[in-house]
C-alpha cells in the first residue's frame, strides 16, 4: 500500500488552523467591539458636559439635520 501523502495531512491541518485562527480573530473582534461600545455612553457624557450652552443647541440642531438627511 502507498504511504500516506503528506500533502493531504497538511491540507487538513491547514483547514483546521484556518478555522481556529478565524475563531480567534472573531472572538478578539467581538471583545474589542463590545468594550468600545461600552465606552460610548461615558465618552458622550464627558464630551457633552464640556460643551457650552450654545454648542449644545448647535449640537442638537446638527443631530436633527443628520437625522433628517438620513445620513
Amino acid at each position: 500500500m502507498p504511504s500516506p501523502i503528506v500533502n493531504t495531512d497538511m491540507a487538513i491541518e491547514e483547514l483546521k488552523d484556518e478555522l481556529a485562527a478565524s475563531q480567534r480573530r472573531i472572538e478578539e473582534l467581538d471583545k474589542t467591539i463590545r468594550e468600545e461600545a461600552g465606552k460610548i455612553r461615558k465618552q458622550e457624557h464627558v464630551y457633552i458636559d464640556g460643551l457650552d450652552p450654545n454648542d449644545v443647541a448647535l449640537g442638537v440642531s446638527e443631530e436633527l439635520r443628520i437625522f433628517l438627511s438620513g445620513d
Binding site: 457633552i48 443647541a57 442638537v60
Partner: protein, 133 residues
C-alpha cells in the same frame, strides 16, 4: 437660561426647518414652541449623539465581522480546494497500487515431489503468480 425648540412641521420631513437655540432667561419667543431646561437640552443632545454613535459603531462592527467572514470563506475555500486535490492524488495512488498488486508476478517455490517410481524427491522451481482476490 432656557433652550427653545421650534421645528416647523412639513409634509416632507427633510424640509423641516430646525430651530433649536440657546436663549437667556426672560426671552420672549415670537412663536410657539417647546421649552426645555439647559440640562434637558444636554440630555437630548447626549441621547441623540449616543444613539447615533452607537449605531455607527455597530454598523462598523458588522462590516468588520463581515470582512472577517469573507476572508475566512475565501481562505477555507482555497484550503478545501487543496485538500480535494491532495485527496484525489492520494486516491489515484491507491488505485494504481491496487492495480499493480493484481498484476502477475514471478514466484519461486521449493518442496517435496512424488515421482512415478515411488520415490519422493526435493524440487525447486520458478513460476507465474496470480492474485485471485
Amino acid at each position: 437660561m432656557m433652550l427653545l425648540l421650534a421645528c416647523q412641521r412639513s409634509y416632507a420631513s427633510s424640509l423641516a426647518e430646525i430651530d433649536f437655540r440657546y436663549v437667556s432667561k426672560g426671552y420672549i419667543s415670537p412663536f410657539k414652541g417647546y421649552l426645555a431646561s439647559e440640562d434637558t437640552g444636554r440630555t437630548i443632545l447626549r441621547a441623540l449623539r449616543t444613539y447615533r454613535v452607537e449605531r455607527d459603531h455597530w454598523i462598523s462592527a458588522y462590516n468588520v465581522l463581515q470582512e472577517e467572514h469573507d476572508l475566512y470563506t475565501q481562505r477555507a475555500s482555497e484550503s478545501i480546494g487543496r485538500l480535494e486535490t491532495s485527496l484525489e492524488q492520494e486516491r489515484q495512488m491507491w488505485q494504481d497500487a491496487e492495480q499493480k498488486a493484481k498484476r502477475p508476478g514471478i514466484g519461486v517455490f521449493a518442496g517435496p515431489a512424488y515421482c512415478g517410481n515411488g520415490s519422493i524427491q526435493a524440487v525447486i522451481g520458478i513460476g507465474l503468480v496470480y492474485k485471485l482476490w
